[in-house]
Every structure is written in C-alpha cells, then in structure tokens.
C-alpha cells in the first residue's frame, strides 16, 4: 500500500514541478537587453574579463589556424552589407575603384594614403582561414592582401594611440535621419597581428563587391563583425568615445561585445 501512495504522490508532484518549468522562460529577464540597466552593465563586465584573459593567455603573434587548399569547398558566404548604395561607393564601383584611396589618419606622425594599385604592389600575404560569423556558422576561404602593420609603421603611430577605428563605405542601416555607415575597431595587438591583412583578393579572384570590395580587413582571431568590408580609413585614437554610441563599432553599439574573440 505504501508503495502505491508513493507512486501516486510521485506522479502528482512531478506534474506540479513540470508545469513550473514550462513557466520558467517567459519575459522576466528581458531587462537584461537594456544597455542602461545596472545589472546588464555588471553582466557585460564578463566581456572585459574574456578580453583580458585571452590577451594574457594567447601570444600577441600567435597565428589563427590556416587550412589547406583542399579545405576550400565553397565560395565565401556573404552577409551583412552586400551591395552598398551610398553615392560615394557607387561612384567608386563604377570607376572600377581606380579613384579609391586607403587612408591612415588620427594619432599618427604623418597621414598616409594609398591607391588600390599601390596596395597590390606592397608585399602580399595569402592565408586560407576560417571565417566565423557571430551567428554561429563558419566558412573557409583564401584571403590575399597586404599586412596592415607595416602600413601603420609608415604612418608612425603616436605612443598614446590605443585603438584603431576602421571606417567603411557601406550604409549598413538606413534611417530617416540618414545612413548609418559601418565601422568597427580593435586594439593595436589585432591591428599589428601578422595575419591582419588589407585583403583585395578572395579565393584567387579580385575581392567581389558582396564580400567587401575593394578592401576588407581580416582580423583572423575574431568573429566576422571584426572583419570590416568596404574599408577606406583606419583612424588611430586613444578613446572610442565620439564614434557612434561610443562602444567601438556598429554592432558593438547595438550590444555585441567589442573584442569579438569568442
């Protein structure tokens, strides 16, 4: 008899516990999406911890894995902006990017700028790497370009500079008060990393518009939103305030973490 009661009680309690679980999700944690919420700000400190831990544990020059040619099994999947519609970009595109200039400015001894042909004539590096989108997917492709570090050295970065801000042509978001242009940023470790190249070639072809023509920066140890397409200017700064909402990038301004290495 005792066994029967136990089993009946067991089933009844299980149903109660189970229905509690179903109600568990719901919307009571939506406040965590509010960037001004103090709890959200505490939770976001974990991103700083991740950044500092990875910088402390991963060598500054340590390379991202490079794959073999046989592991390129498909084209590079484009997403984000794939066809910028600003007049400035469409003009350059119509001119085959001949008037394009890549510029380094900000906290540098001398501002420098280069045409696409000049970039192509600089020492080139090719790397077959895996592109990891923050959404979760990955895609392997061969990127060809010239390393950013030596170009920064030509401009002679001033000692106080802490970040490189990457300015792009593409209007990632169109609002009633005008276009929002894509930008992102990195520390100088990522800017000077040997695999950080101004890529103008993809899978042995000129970089297509959908993938960021004429120049896309690769930061191979970070997620896709740290690989700015349609790049025209690198600005050296000591603070990210004053750009967008001050969080260091278009996606970063919407709440994505700045470092992007996880």
């Amino acid at each position: 008899m005792s066994k029967l009661i136990t089993r009946r009680n067991f089933l009844r309690s299980s149903v109660v516990a189970g229905s509690g679980l179903v109600l568990a999700g719901c919307d009571q944690f939506n406040f965590l999406a509010d960037q001004s919420n103090p709890i959200r700000q505490v939770v976001e400190r974990a991103n700083v911890l991740t950044y500092q831990a990875q910088r402390a544990l991963i060598g500054e020059q340590t390379l991202a894995r490079e794959y073999s040619a046989s592991e390129i099994r498909q084209g590079q999947r484009p997403n984000g902006s794939t066809d910028p519609t600003t007049p400035e970009y469409q003009f350059l595109r119509a001119q085959d990017f001949v008037p394009y200039r890549f510029t380094v400015k900000g906290m540098v001894e001398r501002e420098v700028s280069f045409s696409l042909d000049e970039l192509r004539n600089m020492p080139a590096r090719s790397q077959i790497t895996r592109h990891d989108c923050v959404e979760g997917w990955s895609c392997i492709a061969k990127w060809t370009g010239t390393p950013l570090g030596p170009i920064l050295d030509m401009a002679r970065v001033k000692p106080g500079a802490r970040y490189a801000v990457y300015h792009c042509f593409d209007n990632i978001q169109r609002t009633i008060s005008g276009d929002i242009l894509y930008y992102t940023s990195s520390d100088l470790v990522d800017a000077y990393h040997p695999q950080s190249i101004l890529s103008y070639g993809l899978n042995d072809q000129p970089l297509p518009v959908a993938n960021g023509a004429p120049v896309r920066l690769r930061i191979e140890r970070a997620l896709g939103y740290k690989q700015p397409k349609y790049l025209h200017t690198v600005e050296l700064v000591d603070s990210l305030e004053g750009f967008g909402r001050g969080r260091g990038g278009y996606w970063e301004d919407t709440g994505y973490d700045w470092y992007g290495g996880i």
Binding site: S2, W137, Y256
Partner: protein
C-alpha cells in the same frame, strides 16, 4: 509485506550529509545552468542548424540538424530536419505563438532569454554565466578534493560497480535507500556529470572561440572541427537537460522535503537502520 521502513514513527538518524561547499556550488550551478540553457537556445536561434566538420556547408550539405519555418497553403509550418528525416514541429520548433501572429524562431520565446530575438544580449549573459560556471567548478573541485566528498561520494569504487545491478533493480521498484553516502547509480551519474559532461561543455564552448583556436588548435582536432564542437556542445546540453529532469524526478521520488533540506541546511534524514555515527542527531 510490511517492513520496518514503512512503519510510522520509526526513522533513521539525522546526518550532516552536504558540506557548505557542496550546497553553495549546487545552487550556483542551478542558477548558471538555467541562464546558460536559455541564452544558449537564444544563440542557437541565430543560426538554427548543426554541422559536422570545420565549416558550415552552404553549397554542399554537412548538416545533421536544421530547424526552420516554411510557408504552405495551410499557413506557416515549423519543421525540424534530423539526419535527413523531416518532422513537423509547428507550435514548438520553427513556428510558435498565436496563429494570427506567429513567431518564427527555432526555439520559442518562452525558452529563450530575452524572450525575443536578441543574439547580442544572449551572448553577453551566456558568457557571464559561463565564467561563473567555470569558477564554481574550480571551487567545487578543490573543496571536494580536500573535504573528501570526491573520494567518498563521487568517484565510483569497485564495490559500487559490483552493486550496480541490484541498485538498478531497486530503483526500478522505487525502493530508494537513504544512506550516509550516495548509492552506486547516484555516484555514477554525478561522476559522469562532473567529469564528462561539465568538462565537455566547457571545452566545446571554448573551441568555438576563434581566439582560443589560435592558441589551442589541438582542441579543433580533438573535437573534429569548430562546427562539430558546436554540435557536441548542443548534444551535451541535451544530456544535461536529461540529467536535470531525472535528478528532479529522483528528488521527488526520494522525498523532496528531506532532499531539499539536505541541500539547504546540510542535514539529511537517513533510512531506518542506518548505523549512527559521530555528529549525528536523533
């Protein structure tokens, strides 16, 4: 067939079973795993497919699971494709919510944090609790090594393995013995959780980090590629959810008040006949 166990008024000794370290880490894990699960499903919803290998096939198919929504003449339908087999999951996966205003996410909003699409917030909260989770693991491991919990209650001994068949039979008949230490099945399941599932879910999570990949490319090889690691991360999540369900059912079956008390105050009422020891209360 009345035995002494079911006689009212007869009870075993009250024993101090759970140390403060076990109790604190237990409830920290409860909080962590709750947020990790619901933000994890939010992150999964950003690309609701799982693959085998280094990359995701867009021009070929290396997926083993896809969840999606499709419009049909009868309205939108949710579907899951698992190893090439497609099942209709309308209402739960792919398409959920009211018919007039359906929600097109893989997992429904009731199972995600936030309750709507917000990958950025999902990631921020996921990584916060991932840090707390790993910190709790370290505290638990050191404390349990020092206070003997590991040796006494978690790592199965040869005698436990020998007693396993009879323990399984006892569980099947709902005859649960409340002893001083854990039974063989309990030990084995906690051992698997602590030393297989927890490390696996942390390591596969780290293998998805391009930063970690650079310094520890061996992890990519260990799990067979970043996308395989992501798939294993998902499977281990399912196993932990299964453990959670069984764990809670067993607590209910074994006497929820006594079990909960032991995980809050540390004191546990053992079965009648349990030999009393030093420090026990009547």
């Amino acid at each position: 067939m009345t035995d002494i166990k079911s006689l009212p008024g007869s009870q075993g000794p009250l024993i101090y079973r759970q140390s403060i370290w076990t109790r604190i880490t237990h409830w920290l894990w409860v909080i962590c795993l709750f947020f990790l699960l619901l933000t994890g499903l939010q992150i999964f919803n950003a690309h609701p497919a799982l693959y085998l290998g280094q990359e995701s096939g867009f021009e070929y198919d290396n997926s083993i699971l896809r969840i999606g929504a499709f419009n049909t003449d009868a309205g939108p339908r949710g579907r899951i494709t698992l190893f090439g087999q497609t099942f209709d999951t309308t209402g739960v996966l792919g398409v959920s919510g009211p018919k007039e205003r359906p929600v097109f996410t893989a997992f429904p909003g009731a199972l995600t944090i936030p309750g709507y699409r917000d990958l950025a917030t999902g990631r921020v909260v996921h990584f916060f609790f991932a840090w707390v989770f790993v910190g709790t693991m370290l505290v638990w491991f050191v404390a349990s090594l020092v206070n003997g919990h590991l040796r006494r209650d978690v790592v199965p001994r040869p005698a436990d393995l020998k007693a396993l068949p009879s323990d399984i039979a006892a569980h099947a008949r709902f005859r649960l013995k409340h002893g001083r230490s854990y039974g063989p099945l309990q030990k084995l399941s906690y051992f698997v959780v602590f030393f297989v599932l927890f490390p696996l879910i942390v390591l596969t999570g780290l293998t998805m980090s391009p930063g970690v990949n650079a310094s520890a490319p061996w992890m990519l090889d260990l799990f067979g590629g970043r996308q395989t690691a992501r798939t294993i991360h998902f499977i281990v999540m399912l196993l932990l959810v299964a453990f959670f369900v069984v764990h809670v059912l067993m607590v209910i079956a074994a006497g929820p008040i006594n079990e909960l008390r032991s995980m809050i105050t540390g004191w546990y009422r053992a079965s009648p006949g349990t030999p009393t020891g030093e420090g026990d209360k009547p």
